[in-house]
Amino acid sequence: MVNLIWLIMLVIGILISAINGQIEIVTVSAMKAAELGVEVAIELIGVMSLWLGLMRLAEEAGIVKGIARLFGPVVRLLFPTLKPDSPALGAIIMNLSANILGLGNAATPFGLKAMQELQKENPTPDTASPAMITFLALNTSCITLIPATIIGVRLKANSANPTEIIGTTIVATGCAMTSAIIVDYLFRRRATK
């Protein structure tokens, strides 16, 4: 599926550029995107190191375990396949908390860490485990309390009330997250039958 989408985007993009007589767009875009990939990765190494360092402290001090125990009942409901003391739980909870608070660049390191921990418990290393799929569904549809970036854009565009969209955003993400949880449950049940 991903292979196909990747190819389709590439082919359609090149064909349309050719039809429009602007084939040079393809060259420029490809080079720029490749450079951007390195920039993003280098930036990520910085934030990632910071948060993983902090997370190691939290782990050794027993804070991660404490948080995982606190959210235990909810997490067991959402991730029935995970062990109750799984080391992935701390990273999952930190990732979702960062998402909820709108701290995007703190969320990614915890998310990648959570995936590494989930992969250690995955019996089929080339295939997504149910816990991974649930985690990604929650991660991408997570409730957002502070859409900080877009509030900034509205502020710059001289909005009379830049924060008025916080309420609508919470409702919209709430709907998306609730349906993601329900549909994930249905898919998972169908897959294990």
């Binding site: 490749a34 402290l57 998310g111 991408t140 969209i165 919209a172």
Partner: protein, 178 residues
Amino acid sequence: MKAIAEISRWAIPLLLLFIPVIAFLRKVPVYESFVAGAEEGFNTGVRILPFLIGMLVSIRIFVDSGALNILAHWLQPIFAYFGLDSNVAAIIPLAIMRPLSGSGALGVATQLIHQYGPDSYIGRLASTLQGSTDTTFFVLTIYFGSVGIRKYRYALKLGLLADFIGLIASIWIVTKTF
């Protein structure tokens, strides 16, 4: 609303204060442990690099070619079919862009907010949509790629479905609220 904004402002400084202090009180060698944990950051960054570049190149060529506007044009009758204001069609490029590219979607949203005004229907809808859904397709490919997962099973279907429901919910709540 103000309280939430304050929590967001204080969250990181407080984490940076309390985690090391608590760890120190529990006899953890704080600096050495921090460095040991941070070491992992480099490997992860390097591991996701090829996935980042692969996806960014394909998405960027697709977006820069103008394919998005053509696709949006095709999808317009579907919106009309559901009896939605023809105005809403202006949001289609953003809705398609959102799962693919974070910076791309922010660019489209910013342009819509400036073109229609931040306090217009489209401006509010674009703001809500931008704040409420994630770069699902992109996140999935990078996260799965970083640990070597090749078969996603129903993950992509599920993520994009949630995005679609987020879109419908955004249109509904913005129409109802303002």
